[in-house]
């Protein structure tokens, strides 16, 4: 009798716990989404209304704000679309270089035995934590000497050396790549590079996809290096365009600012939701810090 009562109170306690935790989790979800909801709502409101306070009801001024944005951006050297295009020109090749050459480096260390192997791995681990901000002065002066300032090359080529991606790829290879498969390919007469491209890369596909997503996000969102390296307005990337929204020219008309932010944020959210399964799994594998 006493036992059933205890059991009942136990399960009642479980239920309250479940409700409390559920409510807290929902509140955190709302917290994470609310700024984006406000962004979308404000993009549809007139600038004067926005100053009245928060509203969760959409209004009808989206097209008007959109037209104003199109007019305003004509005064700028870079338009929204050309900024998107510039970002694409930098991000896509940089992502491909990062995942391909990182896989290659990881493969070289994983599959072959050479004298400097241990030292090479130790070096990659050591430099994983050295951030761009520290080398930027030397980097800028060096590129200035080479005449590469205001060029996309210094934003794209360095992606070949991405220590964190190499680390992730090596971890993945340890558990999926067997030396027997590679030896079988050799017996069939495949060259070493061909073995890597045709045998190893397909096996690495899940890791490559995950890392490609993270690298692309990191490149797409990069503000620091392009701020220093790109001087011509027409070459500016999307984050630099966003920076211009903060100028006084735009600050007077908030409807326009929200519409512009809408264009930079909402497609990213859509892509994220489509790929979220891979992204969330990828973070758990420790592959996020680019």
């Amino acid at each position: 009798m006493a036992d059933t009562k205890k059991l009942q109170s136990y399960s009642a306690n479980q239920r309250t716990q479940k409700i409390i935790r559920g409510v807290v989790c929902i509140l955190f979800c709302i917290l994470s989404l609310l700024p984006f909801v406000l962004l979308v709502m404000n993009a549809t409101r007139a600038s004067d209304d926005i100053q009245m306070g928060v509203s969760l009801i959409p209004s009808g001024h989206f097209l008007e704000n959109w037209k104003n944005l199109m007019i305003k951006q004509q005064g700028m050297q870079v338009t929204l679309w050309s900024a998107v295009r510039n970002s694409m020109i930098v991000s896509a090749p940089a992502t491909i270089l990062a995942v391909y050459f990182s896989s290659m480096t990881a493969y070289g260390i994983q599959v072959y035995d050479f004298k400097m192997k241990k030292a090479a791995w130790a070096f990659i681990m050591a430099v994983m934590m050295v951030p761009n901000q520290i080398t930027i002065i030397g980097f800028y002066r060096f590129m200035l000497k080479l005449g590469l300032v205001d060029n996309y090359i210094p934003l794209i080529l360095p992606a070949i050396a991405a220590p964190a991606v190499v680390f992730f790829m090596k971890q993945y290879m340890e558990s999926t790549l067997s030396i027997e498969m590679i030896e079988a390919a050799r017996i069939d007469g495949a060259g070493e590079l061909k073995t890597f491209n045709r045998i190893a890369m397909p096996i690495m596909k899940p890791a490559v996809a995950t890392q490609a997503i993270f690298q692309f996000i990191a490149q797409w969102n990069n503000l620091f290096t392009p701020t220093i390296m790109l001087t011509t307005d027409t070459k500016k990337t999307l984050p630099l365009f966003v920076q211009m929204l903060n100028s006084d020219q735009f600050r007077v008309d908030y409807g326009v600012v929200y519409v512009a932010l809408f264009v930079t944020v909402v497609p990213l959210i859509a892509v994220y939701l489509i790929l979220s399964r891979y992204i969330v799994a990828g973070v758990a594998l420790g592959g996020v810090k680019g």
């Binding site: 928060v54 035995d113 996020v288």
Partner: protein, 325 residues
């Protein structure tokens, strides 16, 4: 034996495969790093539109640290700003993430839609930081919708302006960082909790331990390595903090964080100097490098020993399980 010989024969390919990485790294990272150290000991000046430089020893360091009369130790102020903003973001972040990680892995009280919670709370970290900074600035500016609503509800005084208050601006930057990254930290901690052997929890259940005891006696101690990892990556990332403060509440010319220079970070200072005073900018970079290095070394001192081995095993296990991602 045979296998080993074969590997040796192919050894030279190893060099070829790692060559692109090392050549690129040397060219675009290592050489610039060495140069940065070199520049930090040069005095740059312009005459007749041309730039000259001369060796000046540690003069730049003395200048940025304010050891010379007429120079102010701005960099110390900016380090202080950076640490305050980072700390106010990290402490709530790790606490909330721990709570969420414990709840989302609890099999006794199984919450529904755990996947959705993970996806939604992680969302802000993939969005362009520049856009997020401008968005929050718009929402919290003097006549921004959130400011106005808070005023209408009487939560803040009618004359309060987030952007004119140091605490308001720093607090908001910290909040943005918290908001962006707590989902990420939760996911990392969840993968840590899942790596803990279920046997331990079963044994604790048999001994009659309650949820609280299991959390404090099993989960928390065994999460130490991954929490250390989170702490160090966050601290190093925090030291380089740029995107959010540089677009949030700054001067028109950029790189001065209002109010009273109290939201200027070290990376913003480097940005301010890179074109006008190379030597000084390089000295700030070197200082940042040294502080980053010290933090990394502290990590390696704590992070080695058997804890790290357990961590490596856990990672390996997770990788083999998650092969289908």
């Amino acid at each position: 034996m045979k296998k080993r010989r074969k590997k040796v024969r192919y050894g030279k390919y190893g060099y070829l495969f790692v060559a692109p990485f090392f050549l690129t790294y040397a060219f675009f990272q290592l050489w610039p790093l060495i140069n940065t150290f070199f520049y930090s000991m040069l005095n740059y000046y312009k005459r007749n539109g041309r730039e000259f430089s001369e060796f000046c020893g540690l003069q730049n360091f003395q200048n940025i640290l304010g050891l010379v009369s007429g120079e102010k130790a701005y960099v110390l102020h900016y380090f202080k700003n950076t640490f305050i903003i980072w700390g106010m973001n990290f402490i709530p972040q790790i606490l909330v993430s721990l709570l969420l990680a414990a709840w989302l892995t609890d099999n006794k009280v199984r919450l529904r839609s755990r996947g959705a919670v993970k996806v939604i709370t992680y969302l802000p970290s993939v969005i362009t930081a520049a856009s997020i900074s401008v968005l929050f600035h718009a929402l919290f500016s003097q006549y921004g919708p959130i400011t106005m609503t808070l005023k209408n509800l009487g939560i803040i005084g009618s004359s309060f302006n987030f952007l004119e208050s140091s605490a308001g601006t720093r607090g908001l930057i910290s909040f943005i960082l918290f908001w962006m990254w707590y989902g990420n930290t939760t996911l990392l901690l969840i993968s840590g909790v899942l790596g803990i052997s279920p046997d331990l929890y079963e044994a604790a259940d048999i001994d009659g331990a309650n949820g609280r005891a299991k959390f404090f006696r099993i989960t928390l101690p065994l999460l130490k390595p991954i929490m250390l990892y989170v702490l160090i990556t966050s601290a190093i990332g925090g030291l380089q903090m740029y995107d959010i403060p540089a677009l949030f509440n700054v001067s028109n010319t950029g790189y001065v964080g209002f109010p009273n220079d109290n939201s200027t970070t070290v990376a913003m200072y480097i940005m301010r100097l890179y074109n006008s005073d190379v030597g000084k900018a390089a000295a700030v970079s070197v200082l940042l490098f040294i502080v980053t290095l010290i933090i990394s070394l502290i990590f390696f001192k704590f992070g080695t020993s058997n804890e790290e081995k357990a961590e490596a095993r856990r990672r390996k296990k997770r990788l083999s399980e998650g092969g289908g991602c």
